[in-house]
Amino acid sequence: MTQHFNPSRRNLLQGGGALIVSFSLGGAVEPALGQGAAAARPLSLAEVDAFLAIDARGRVTVYSGKVDMGTGVRTALAQMCADELDVAFSAVRVVEGDTNLTPDQGKTWGSLTIQLGGVQIRNAAATARAALLEQAAKRFDVKPAELSVANGVIRAGNRRVSYGELIGGRTFSLKLDHAKPAKFKDPKDYKIVGKSIPRVDIPQKVAGRFPYINNLRLRGMLHGRVIHPPSVGSKLESVDESSIKGIAGIVRVVRQGNFLGVVAQTEWAAIKAARNLKVGWSKWEGLPEQAKLFEHVRASKVFRADVTGNVGNTSEAMARDGIKKLAATYDFAIHTHGSQGPSCAVAEFRDGKLTSWSASQATHDLRRQLAEMFAMPVENVRCIYLEGSGCYGRNGHEDAAADAAMLAKAVGRPVRVQWSRADEHGWDPKGPPTLIDLRATLDGAGTVTAWESEFFIPQQTDKSFMVPLVPATLAGLPAKADIAPGNIFQNSNIPYKFANIKAVCHRLETTPFRPSWIRTPGRMQNTYANECFLDELAAAANADPIAFRLKYLDPADKRGIETLNRVAALAKWDTRPSPRQGVSGNVVTGRGVSYVKYELTRTYVAVVAEVAVDRAAGVIKVTKVYVAHDCGQIINPDGLRNQLDGNVIQMVSRTLIEELKFDRSHVTSLDWESYPVIKFPDVPEIVIDLIDRPNERPWGAGEPAAAVVPSAISNAVFDAIGIRLRSVPYTPDKVKAAMRSGA
């Protein structure tokens, strides 16, 4: 159905007096000061104008609630819009994550930016294009089908009219229904979607001229640092301000409850003040002993048990005679985001209103949290996204935004806060520890008769998924005491058709550190345990691991089956059971496979990892990783490959070496020496097979490939040395211990 539109005279360019930064092709950044209090932008997801504006010169602005955190989606969203609208790619610019300008499309998480956010923008573009064609048809007195359109110009014979002439600077005033989207183009007509358009941000990033949040300077801006407590539960007892008297440029020590910060004229003065300020804190030792972390997890009070998979009757099946029983326990360490740049934000209070600039992945949510924290009406808070160091979930960006707001309020001037490395490693929210028990039975023919899994993972207290802001908690300001690890139950159930299945998630009341979602939250830990244990069953059945998986996949799930077959072909898979036979020598090699259907509903990934294990040293080297990936319609193949590389490399790092260290008070892995991440010499070769399905809907790709990497490595190690590793990370000590016990 085509909607009619009446271009209104309402001014569409607005800013509300704050800095707008947008990106256009060629990387030109256009910081501009808004022209006073112009008309507010429509922000409803049900309006075309919330997503799109076209000016008199035909330039298109996309307003995206989803943000580019370094993944390249800025470019991909512009591709989707330009193609659907029939304008040149270079005519499109993207404004991201500004609560006054962009609709609330939800957090930038869960591999949903293209799949959900991009498709909403595509819907707006298709609706706008249809309306523009209809308008042109009226003008030329022809049927819309007789029109042609390219580069934002509509033609009927030798007559022509541009989008800029039809709508320039005015609103569409058209409704959108995302449940019943407009008719999109026939995929065969896409000219920009599916192309590896170079990313718009890279020219400036390589020139050192990219407008990161870290580089934002406002007039009169001061620099702040926060002095975090020495433990999670310490109380602030005393502050000796005379201890920093000798440091030039100190403006103020800000203290409220257990929140303590310093504000200075320069960043270096703020850093020195934070380092040298003499502070008395109470002692607190409420954390569990690290060596007994998983005993603590197992003993934690269960808030609720969620059954996520239930087929047949597993207890009956497992009680039968003549079957082989297997049981194993897997655990996965606490991880930090480890963003390369510590979290950074700028805030300004003026005339009772707060403006916050940060790299938040969810500015609309942050706005609600800041409004709650400062007891302000939501409409008096504006949160603006500026890209920062990459984050892989909810890291410390939001906390730094709240820190900056605390300090800006105290001193009445704009304040920039950048955390220290120790702040970032110590105080970003963590990926919670995960403990998984698995049991299964096989009959005499090696067929799986029952599968049971139990996951011990923290609860999710609130449907809004708000991770409490550290300074609000420290200062005793209003903040919900939520536990928000994300949708970590996902992929606890399995895609395999066993006769009897039971998967249960024991949602724990508490977890030792403030949790949040870190790349592939839950899906990765759960898939890790499931796919390793499945490999244990394959080995027990003396079956090839890929053939074993194919045997149990739903025959109707053709895409899943093809993904596994494609990775087998890509890796030149040697069909045989694991482990390898007849190995000798100290360094032995092996290969392992893993498969996921993300959240059991979307993106398919299969990987094969090849490893070399130095048995004497207990050192695993991942030498090569093959990836077959089906995320439906591919918007930008090179961007997708870049994401897959990142998934693999980051996950090799997390699997082999990463583990949060802590004592009874606090995190002790506060730098890159104590929390190491992968370095160049240890990065594997990566071979990718993109399964493009241009006629299918586009699915997410930022996370799914990560889900399968730890299990593929584990299975490859088993193939090499016949030892099953069940505790991430696979440090040399653990590898050697596993070999000694001959697990």
């Binding site: 370094g70 890279i202 390589v206 580089n215 960043e267 270096w268 160091s389 890159w672």
Partner: protein, 156 residues
């Protein structure tokens, strides 16, 4: 006590006023001179995000005190690596290989690579990986970065 300090940055002599002569070079570049290419990553010389050249050598600006930088020493930041709008071959190679995700490490990677290539015309992949071993990238762009440095090697 505020004092004046003269630096040679990106081919120009610049005089700045600082309170602390031992302030790390990074803050002088970013705050006093507005050169935001080098970024703060750790303040511990562990990650490389702040890497600049001092007399052609890659230096971690986050720990390199101003007092150690002589007025005749040539400091080059990523902004000074290109000749006007003409990018340095390493920068061009990073664009050609699209060897960036968030880009927070990129400036340091490019500076480290440029200093390395100046003395190594035909590096192997292993040489490049070794040279960049102390520059961290959390997004996982390593394989593209190695390709970019190799691409630049012939022309850098």
């Amino acid at each position: 006590m505020a004092e004046r300090k003269t630096l040679n940055v990106n081919g120009r002599s610049r005089t700045i006023t600082v309170d602390d002569p031992d302030m790390p070079l990074l803050y002088a570049l970013r705050e006093n001179l507005g050169l935001d290419g080098p970024l703060f990553g750790c303040g511990l010389a562990q990650c490389g995000a702040c890497t600049v050249h001092v007399d052609g050598k890659a230096v971690r600006a986050c720990v390199h005190p101003l007092s150690k930088v002589g007025p005749a020493q040539k400091v080059v930041t990523i902004e000074g690596l290109s000749q006007g709008r003409r990018l340095h071959p390493v920068q061009r190679a990073f664009v050609e290989e699209q060897a960036v995700q968030c880009g927070y490490c990129t400036s340091g990677m490019i500076m480290e690579s440029a200093a390395f290539l100046a003395g190594n015309k035909k590096p192997t992949d292993a040489d490049i990986k070794k040279a960049l071993a102390n520059n961290l990238c959390r997004c996982g762009v390593h394989t593209r970065i190695v390709r970019a440095v190799k691409r630049a090697a012939g022309v850098a």
